[in-house]
Symmetry: C2
Subunit: 104 residues, 2 copies
Amino acid sequence: MPRADGLARAFRFLGKRWNAVVLGHLSEGAAGFRELSRAIDGISDSVLSDRLTDLAAGGLIARTVEEGPPVAVSYALTDRGRALMPALEEIARWAEDHLPRDGC
Amino acid sequence: MPRADGLARAFRFLGKRWNAVVLGHLSEGAAGFRELSRAIDGISDSVLSDRLTDLAAGGLIARTVEEGPPVAVSYALTDRGRALMPALEEIARWAEDHLPRDGC
């Protein structure tokens, strides 16, 4: 079985609805707040802001500020975040195979 | 990148703190409510009850009632839930490798 304590630790981050989706988007490359907000269907700005803070505190993403003008803030996966991508891809494949597209 | 819509659908279930941990425990075999409650450190009975209902509604676990007396209720992974285990094992491995045991 999956190690229970490992799962519990991982899902302190992943066990919030949008965190994995945010990570999935950043796997395409660094992105700014607006870009993420537009790309992720259904997330509010306040929730996105909260999730980015959470993921950065856990070292899964890094926030970079480029001094402007204009000041540009972007978010990118760290090595720790990138190392999670194969598992997230497997979960996305599972959803394709096992979860109906509507309902549930 | 992981398919965004697949991730979003998967994390309708997994994006709740305890769901993956409950699934991980059931990967060892069917279990009753008390057994799960004791095995999962830190979960309250009302949250566990809520999670079991959620996972059953999504078809990831099945609830079996054995007519007694005494009546015995047990929970077990379905094929859909079992198919998720390799991905959860990969996530648990990632946590072992990348998340410090204390803090975060």
